[in-house]
Symmetry: C2
Subunit: 258 residues, 2 copies
C-alpha cells in the first residue's frame, strides 16, 4: 500500500503527485494542512523528522524528500521508466531534478513575498513562538523568524528573481541543444521536478516574466502540461486539493499545547 502525505499544490508535493500519476499508481491521499501546522504535529514528525511535506509511506515504511521519493518510486515501480537508460542522459536527468531543489531558497523568497506575506501578518506573537519552537530544522526556523520580522529586501528579491532567470536561460539552452525533454529524448524525473518550479514562478510573476521570452522553455511547458498526469496534478479543484479551512490559532490546536 502507498500513502502520500502531501499538501496539494505546494512545490514538492506536486513533484511526487505528478510522478505517481505518470506511473498510473493508486495511492491513499493524506492531505496535510500546512495552514494548521499539521506538518509540525508530533505524529507527523515521527514520519518525517524535518516536519516538511511530502512523505511517501510504502507498506508502513516512510520515504522522505521529494527528490529521493521520486527515484524510489522509479526503483520500485520501473514501468513506465522515468529515468533514461543511457547514463549520460540519466546524469542530465539528475542534474535538473537536483537544480529544482537547489533553486528552492530563491523560490521560498519569491513565494513568501507574493503568496505568504499576508498570511503571516495575522500570526500573533504567541503563535509565532509556538511555531518556531515546533519547527525542527534550525535553518527553517531562522527563515520563519526573518519573515516574521518583515521579510526580504528589494535587493534580496531581485537576486532571487535573477537566480530563477539564470536557470530559465539554462533550461532554454539545454532544450534548444538537445530536447525535447530536459534529459534528451526521454521524458523524466528531471522534467517532473523542474516543471513544479516553473509553474510556481509563472504563477507568482505573471507581470514580470513573459513566457514568450523563453520560447523553447514555453513549448516544453505546454507539451508537459498537456500530459494527463500534469493536467490532474496542477488543477485546483480535485479531491487532492481541498479548500483551505478557516485559519485556526496554533495555540488552539491540542497537539501544540506543549
Amino acid at each position: 500500500m502507498l500513502e502520500l502525505y502531501h499538501s496539494g499544490l505546494t512545490t514538492c508535493s506536486k513533484q511526487v503527485r505528478h510522478c505517481l500519476r505518470e506511473k498510473g499508481l493508486s495511492y491513499v491521499s493524506r492531505y496535510v494542512e500546512l495552514w494548521n501546522y499539521e506538518n509540525l504535529s508530533p505524529d507527523y514528525l515521527k514520519l518525517n523528522p524535518n516536519g516538511v511535506v511530502p512523505t511517501l509511506v510504502h507498506d508502513g515504511n516512510p520515504i522522505i524528500n521529494s527528490f529521493c521519493i521520486n527515484e524510489y518510486i522509479d526503483d520500485v515501480f520501473p514501468e513506465p521508466a522515468l529515468r533514461p537508460a543511457d547514463p549520460k542522459d540519466r546524469a542530465r536527468m539528475r542534474y535538473w531534478a537536483w537544480t529544482a531543489d537547489e533553486v528552492h531558497l530563491s523560490l521560498a523568497r519569491l513565494t513568501h513575498e507574493r503568496m505568504l506575506k499576508a498570511a503571516l501578518k495575522d500570526l500573533g506573537p504567541e503563535d509565532l513562538q509556538i511555531m518556531l519552537r515546533s519547527t525542527p530544522v534550525p535553518e527553517k526556523r531562522e527563515r520563519w523568524n526573518l519573515l516574521a520580522k518583515g521579510g526580504y529586501s528589494a535587493d534580496q528579491l531581485q537576486a532571487a528573481l535573477d537566480n530563477v532567470l539564470f536557470i530559465f536561460r539554462r533550461v532554454e539552452e539545454e532544450l534548444s541543444s538537445r530536447g525535447p525533454w530536459l534529459a534528451g529524448a526521454t521524458f523524466s524525473l528531471g522534467d517532473i521536478n523542474m516543471v513544479a518550479i516553473v509553474h510556481r514562478i509563472f504563477e507568482l510573476y505573471p507581470d514580470r516574466l513573459n513566457r514568450s521570452d523563453f520560447p523553447v522553455l514555453n513549448g516544453w511547458w505546454e507539451r508537459l502540461m498537456a500530459r494527463p498526469a500534469a493536467a490532474y496534478v496542477y488543477a485546483e479543484d480535485t479531491d487532492e486539493v481541498p479548500q483551505r479551512p478557516p485559519r485556526k490559532s496554533i495555540a488552539g490546536i491540542a497537539e501544540f499545547q506543549v
Copy 2:
C-alpha cells in the same frame, strides 16, 4: 578516459575523488586553482556553466554536480557497488547524499567565517568587481557581495552551527537505529558525501564541537577514515593537492581582461 577537474580538499571535490578511489578507477587529475579563479575562466565555463568544481569529463562528455557525478560513476562502473540493492536502503542513501548538499549554505557561512574571511580581505575593489562580473550564478554572486561587505552576523553563524548540529544528531540517530553505515549494511555514496561535510566541520570547529558528544557518528567517522580511499583523499600532501601558489590579482590574469 576519465578526467576530473577538482580543487583538492574542497567539499564537493573530496566527494568525487573519494568515489573514484573507492571504485579503484584511474583518472587524470586536473587541478583547478580557485585561488586564481580558474573556475571562472571562459574555458572552464564551457565545461561547467555554473563555474564550480568538480566536473568529471568522461570520453569528452562533461558531467557536473558532485551528487550527480557520483551516481553517474556508479551507473557506468557498477563494481564495487556504492548504492545498496534494496530500494528502501537506496532511498536512505540518497537522502543522506542529498542532505550533504542541503547543508551547503550553512557550511558556506561557517567556512567563510573560519577559513576565507582573511583571504577575501586583501581582495581589492577592482578584483572584487571582476570576480562578481565573472561569477555566472546570481545566488553565488549575491553571497560573494555579502561576504565582501563584511560577512555574517553572530546570529547567522549560530543558526548555521545549530543547523549542522541538528544534522549531526540525525546522523547519530540513524546510525544508532540501523548502521553501521548511513544506508544500513552497505557502505554507500551517502557515507561518501556526508563525510566530506563532517570533515569540514571538525576541521573548522575543533574548539566548539566535541567529537565525543556524538559517539556513534564518531565511530562511523573513524571506520570511514580508516578506508584506504578516504585516507588518500583526505591527506594534505598528495599529488592531487598542490601547494597554494602566491595569490595573483584577478586583473592580472589574461583571461579576465574582459
